[in-house]
């Protein structure tokens, strides 16, 4: 119906825990919408990916970012702040996916323009359900600003 069906949705997962990476991959593999998952294991790698700094020269501009908060090298909140203050990147929705339930993190996340804050469930099935719900809402229901991504042609 729209070109989202033809072009796979590019998702950047910023996550240092290999177990959570595997679970997210698994949950997105069965998604209705074609998608490609890219993984950055720390905050510096995430910024390199987004700015196409080597070794990410050929990285696509992601349509959606799933961001853990507790990351090595550069924290998730720092990444969030950098993306949302970058004119080229600020339209990319960022869903924070973290174990932290601290009210301070939640409020700080929204104040720094996180698009949504999701608490990571510990339980395996719950985790899959949560990623499935993120997928359903953000890839099937939401209209993403792909025009701002530079990689995908504008409609007009």
């Amino acid at each position: 119906m729209n070109h989202a069906d033809a072009v796979p949705v590019e998702v950047l997962l910023v996550e240092d825990n290999p177990g959570d990476v595997r679970l997210t991959q698994e949950a997105l593999r069965d998604a209705k919408v074609r998608n490609r998952l890219h993984v950055a294991p720390d905050g510096v790698a995430a910024m390199s990916f987004l700015r196409r700094v080597p070794p990410y020269e050929n990285a696509p501009v992601p349509d959606l970012i799933l961001l853990d908060l507790n990351l090595p090298k550069k924290s998730g909140l720092e990444v969030l702040e950098l993306v949302k203050s970058d004119d080229r990147l600020q339209c990319i929705p960022i869903v924070i996916l973290t174990t932290s339930q601290a009210e301070r993190d939640v409020l700080q996340g929204y104040r720094l323009r996180a698009n949504a804050y999701v608490t990571k469930p510990v339980d395996f099935d719950q985790f899959l359900k949560v990623v499935g719900s993120i997928e359903h809402f953000w890839l099937e229901i939401v209209k993403l600003s792909r025009a701002g991504s530079g990689d995908v042609g504008r409609d007009d």
């Binding site: 929705p93 409020l107 719900s133 993120i134 359903h136 229901i141 939401v142 600003s145 504008r154 409609d155």
Partner: protein
């Protein structure tokens, strides 16, 4: 937080769309109360506790149509996201426009999500259900 009622402000001038949304949210698993504002000015008065909304709750979530009479949705969005007290409140734009320029502009004004309003009632209900499922059941609201 899960025990408390989730307060939703729906800013929508189309009576049918408002009624459909209210109906879909009434079926939601989590307790919620929907407040409807039919103009942008009304929405801002509600958010700022101006008369006759002195006792209005602070919404946990705003569903915002863009095309409103008078003060339009973009202005409402800009006002919310520029207000220290209100900017953390998630705003989901629900709009009839599929124009990429409108979508990009809404995200630049810090809309939390942009949902294209389906014309088909069935698809419309499905979209509201998905908003409910994600924002009320999965998301941690501020």
């Amino acid at each position: 937080m899960s025990a408390a009622t989730i307060e939703i402000l729906l800013v929508e001038d189309n009576k049918d769309d408002a009624a459909l949304t209210v109906r879909a949210l009434a079926r939601a698993r989590l307790g919620n109360q929907v407040h409807v504002a039919t103009t942008g000015a009304e929405a801002l008065a509600f958010l700022r506790h101006q008369p006759p909304y002195e006792t209005a709750p602070r919404p946990d979530l705003v569903l915002l149509d863009l095309d409103l009479p008078g003060v339009d949705g973009r202005t409402v969005l800009e006002q919310i996201k520029g207000d220290e007290q209100l900017r953390a409140v998630p705003v989901i734009v629900v709009s009839g426009s599929l124009n990429p320029a409108d979508v990009e502009r809404a995200y630049r004004l810090h809309a939390n999500a942009y949902v294209a309003k389906p014309i088909e009632p069935k698809a419309f209900l499905e979209a509201v259900r998905s908003i409910e499922e994600f924002w009320l059941q999965v998301v941690t609201l501020p």
